[in-house]
Symmetry: C2
DNA sequence: GTTTGTTAACGGTACCGTTCCGTTTCCCTA
DNA sequence: TAGGGAAACGGAACGGTACCGTTAACAAAC
């Protein structure tokens, strides 16, 4: 796309408009759901005319799917040489901090909620958010399995489903939820999954890992 | 409530109207979500005047929460003397059949999706649907744990979260899903949880268990 | 000056929560 | 047995708001 091809004639599109629209669409989607989001409100919130939206996306579902897709943050980058248990416990605090945020919690819930009626949105989330994280995690699980750090009968995919699913389930549960509670919960899940808590080397501190969760 | 207290004067409310309204509200909620459901449409679908709805429930959220609450089916009744593994594998087929139904799948997704913006609906589901099932299952898990049929470090609540969460996660995943696939998946989850597959006694057939799921 | 982007305004539809109808169904008293 | 009162019923309409998808007119970039 950065290829030579001549620039199309006429006035080029404002790239800032794309970003503003996607951001506004995501905010409204998180707060009001698909059915409660209208192109008109997205346009108003983005400070843009309706036609500016319609020109780029043909409808609500397509727009929201694009917004979800654009919302993914930096791809995960797990250290391949660190044992799974060390990674898990080391990242637990940062993980908890991240997924407990109301905005994240609400977005996950919304995406889940649309899976039946608007599969495109769920598919966008799954492809651009969930799958990359699973792909990054899988080799660590397989290595742990090969080294005997996990029960022999472990199926990596099912294990990931169970861990992510449990966290998701916990997030969706009614009632307040703070980061400390969630951290404890994460550790319980790791333990239940069969991971041994690593004994922290003296002076070693938990190493934050950016962007994770179900 | 069946107590003596005199019947209030005037025409009594039509109980059929309650049922029709709740049914219509649940259908519309499943199909269009909270934000896409209007009292007006509920009334029309139920063949009832708007006022008949407003007389009973003060607003949309309250109505839908009541509809979700009323949609719960017969309480589970697990045989306390059967080993957990036998119950799990015996009920897997019926379970799979049940939770794969589009209506169930969609309802779970919708409820999950409202957990952030409309906690009352999620709370109704949790209290009247999830909790009773967990309460029925817990003693079986504790017994299995005591008998050594589960890993010693097992935390019953976390285990239930992981099993239910995994299934939920699988339900929300995009793409088609048939009962046979789901049955295999359920069995994978049971195995991953640490349950040993029971060797079926000759002539013994899977025993259906009514109404389960996340 | 041609192409495209942006904005403002269009008519039409749906829903809101409320308020009237005229009717129906029950309880209580005369 | 005959009435009268109280409440619920379906249906229609209220003014007000929001959104739909499109079109016409102005502005900007090439």
């Amino acid at each position: 796309m950065t290829a030579p091809g001549r620039r199309p004639p006429g006035r080029p599109r404002d790239p800032g408009a794309d970003a503003a629209i996607l951001r506004a669409a995501l905010d409204l989607f998180i707060e009001h759901g698909v059915e409660g989001t209208s192109i008109e409100r997205v346009a108003k919130a983005a400070g843009v005319g309706k036609l500016t939206v319609y020109r780029r996306w043909s409808g609500k579902e397509e727009l929201i799917a694009a917004a979800v897709e654009a919302a993914r943050d930096d791809p995960v980058d797990l250290p391949a040489d660190t044992p799974l248990a060390a990674v898990a416990w080391g990242a637990a605090a940062a993980q908890a901090e991240h997924i407990v945020q109301p905005r994240f919690r609400a977005m996950v819930a919304r995406v889940l909620g649309t899976s039946a009626s608007h599969p495109a949105i769920m598919a966008a989330y799954w492809t651009h958010y969930v799958e990359p994280r699973r792909a990054a995690l899988r080799p660590l699980i397989e290595r742990a399995l090969a080294e005997g750090a996990l029960p022999a009968h472990t199926d990596p995919d099912v294990l990931m489903d169970m861990m992510a699913g449990a966290v998701l389930y916990r997030l969706a549960r009614p009632g307040p939820l703070d980061a400390a509670t969630m951290r404890r919960y994460l550790e319980d899940v790791y333990a239940q999954a069969g991971l041994e808590r690593p004994r922290p080397a003296p002076g070693e501190q938990s190493e934050p890992e950016r962007g994770g969760g179900p």
